[in-house]
């Protein structure tokens, strides 16, 4: 407050002090609340649960195994020729969440499908080899997934998620 703005009763100076003090109290309050909010987010040990390696040599075509990764089920399914054909031949316009089968498996590994076993609707575990498309069927609210794990019918908005994974060898994959 310079000499130019003195109004006699100090009103402007008082307003400035009230607004500044109020702003700092507000910032301080938010800063104090944040630890109480953030403590509910995943803790360091939960975040540290990283990757899982799976031996897939025992899985026959037409079989699927369920493994646990970060507390979630992951389906590793070895698809038959007919199942792959069914997944490839779908018209993209029929898909609520369009994705080609090629985008859902590793190059040259069309028979191996790896997806999170969590229905994208409300998180139930879908049943394998079930539903109208013989992929997965979620018993909770009736979502049907095809042999590529794509949503075809029902309330789920998206395809089964493909987690980050890689082939270490032809019979070994690492998820995460």
């Amino acid at each position: 407050m310079s000499a130019a703005s003195h109004g006699g009763d100090g009103g402007e100076r008082r307003d400035f002090l009230v607004i500044t003090a109020g702003a700092f109290v507000g910032v301080g309050a938010v800063g104090l609340v944040w630890p109480f909010v953030d403590q509910m987010n995943p803790s360091a040990d939960v975040l540290a649960l990283s990757s899982t390696e799976v031996d897939i040599s025992g899985i026959e075509p037409g079989q699927s195994v369920t493994i646990s990764w970060r507390g979630k089920p992951v389906f590793v399914r070895r698809r038959t020729e007919a199942e792959i054909e069914a997944a490839v031949s779908v018209d993209m316009d029929d898909l609520p969440d369009p994705q080609s089968d090629l985008e859902r498996h590793k190059d040259g590994k069309a028979e191996w499908l790896v997806v999170l076993g969590i229905c994208t609707h409300l998180g139930c575990v879908p049943l394998g080899f079930a539903g109208e498309y013989d992929g997965w069927f979620c018993p909770c609210h009736g979502s049907h997934y095809d042999t590529s794990g794509r949503i075809r019918k029902g309330p789920a908005p998206a395809n089964l998620e493909v987690p980050e994974y890689e082939f270490l060898t032809d019979t070994q994959i690492k998820i995460g």
Binding site: P42, S43, V46, K72, G117, G123, C124, V125, P155
Partner: protein
């Protein structure tokens, strides 16, 4: 009228802390309309149920362990080893169901007799908040035994928030404290399940302050006009309420002692398994109508919004209803729509308990649409088109004249 005593000690105390006179005012002398019927029992029954849930809950917490590897066994320990543990747990579990039975009847009473209308909007709105907190408490309590239904119920309900765009997934992770429902989730649910009943207790206090500010409604829906219209709470309504406790207590005891698991689900006696979803997930019966609304909408986000809107619409009900007449006894059309609405809620509840496919899906969609039509269309429109029956001039006149002049009011 006000509190009088000759006891010097009580006078000294009450002069410094007016506890005795406030209690006297609330539970002895407060005037209530003389014509309250059986539909007005449930408020006091709810007070008893809340107290019972808190008391049984506190002692159960002395034996329960909130950890994923121990929770299920600790509940079985309560059932088999703890002295009277089976009784305390069955009282608590069935008490939750009784609590919801009473609260739904209490709300239907409010809908029938127009208890939500001016000047009692605050009583009603606080009541809706109590319902929401009760639902959160009941849901988290059901998770604690860590059975299959606990786990998958928790998974489905917390996943509701993932429907929100952008912030959905971070919120769900934040609620879980991880990447799935797990030990951090169980721990925080236990903490909040212990806290929320006391929040409800505080809200009930506000509910009662608002009630005593404007006084109770009554089956005739007209205000108290003179001393002939009301009687004091004690002894007239204390004795009526105690009769209600006894009758409701019989119902409660039948469930606790003969059908303790009837309202539960057998799958919850299977320990939680994060890799296997039970074939048919259903929430507890008191969530079924809302669950049916959720499932009847084919879109995930809209389904979640419809479910929350089903409760949200209750908040604005006092302004949706355009009729100046409170009691359905004098509203010939609304009376019918009230019963159709009650039936609609039962249909929704049944649809929610069945797999969402085929005819049941169609039925639940029709029932969902009707639920909202009732509030958003029928309530405002009826107020304009309905021709209410003439209201009696006072409560005492109507009551003392007998059935001749107020047959509608008595039939209600």
């Amino acid at each position: 009228m006000s509190f009088q005593t000759d006891n010097k000690l009580i006078k000294w105390f009450d002069d410094r802390l007016p506890l005795v006179s406030v209690m006297h005012h609330t539970f002895v002398q407060h005037p209530y309309p003389r014509n309250l019927n059986v539909a007005y029992q449930f408020g006091s029954i709810l007070g008893v149920m809340l107290t019972l849930q808190i008391v049984t809950g506190i002692v159960l917490a002395m034996h329960y362990t909130a950890h994923t590897s121990l929770a299920f066994d600790s509940v079985e320990h309560i059932m088999r080893d703890v002295n009277y543990g089976w009784l305390l747990r069955y009282m608590h579990a069935n008490g939750a169901s009784m609590f919801f039975i009473a609260v739904y009847l209490h709300m239907f009473r409010g809908l029938y007799y127009g208890s939500y209308k001016a000047p009692r909007e605050m009583i009603w709105m606080i009541g809706v908040v109590i319902l929401l907190v009760m639902m959160a408490t009941g849901f988290m309590g059901y998770v604690l035994p860590w059975g299959q239904m606990s786990f998958w119920g928790a998974t489905v309900i917390t996943n509701l928030f993932s429907a929100l765009p952008v912030v959905g997934d971070p919120i769900v992770t934040w609620l879980w404290g991880g990447f799935a429902v797990d030990n951090p989730t169980l721990n925080r649910f236990f903490s909040l399940h212990y806290l929320l009943p006391f929040v409800i207790f505080g809200l009930v206090f506000l509910h009662l302050v608002a009630l005593h500010q404007k006084g109770s409604t009554n089956p005739l829906g007209i205000e108290i006009k003179g001393p002939a219209d009301y009687i004091s709470f004690h002894p007239y309504f204390t004795v009526k309420d105690f009769f209600g406790f006894a009758a409701f207590g019989v119902l409660f005891a039948i469930f606790v002692f003969w059908f303790p698991n009837y309202l539960g689900h057998p799958d919850n006696y299977i320990p939680a398994d994060p890799l296997v979803t039970p074939a048919h997930i259903v929430p507890e019966w008191y969530f079924l109508p809302f669950y049916a609304i959720l499932r009847s909408v084919p879109d995930k986000l809209l389904g979640v919004l419809a479910m929350f809107a089903a409760i949200g619409v209750l908040f604005i009900l006092p302004w949706l209803d355009r009729s100046r007449v409170r009691s359905a006894a004098f509203r010939p059309q609304y009376k019918w729509f009230f019963w159709i609405f009650a039936l609609d809620c039962i249909v929704l509840g049944y649809a929610g308990s069945q797999p969402a496919e085929g005819n049941m899906l169609v039925i639940s969609r029709i029932a969902t649409i009707y639920y909202f039509v009732h509030f958003i269309f029928l309530m405002p429109v009826l107020g304009w088109f309905e021709r209410p029956k003439p209201l009696p001039t006072s409560i005492s006149e109507a009551v003392l004249a007998g059935k001749a002049s107020t047959s509608a009011g008595e039939n209600a």
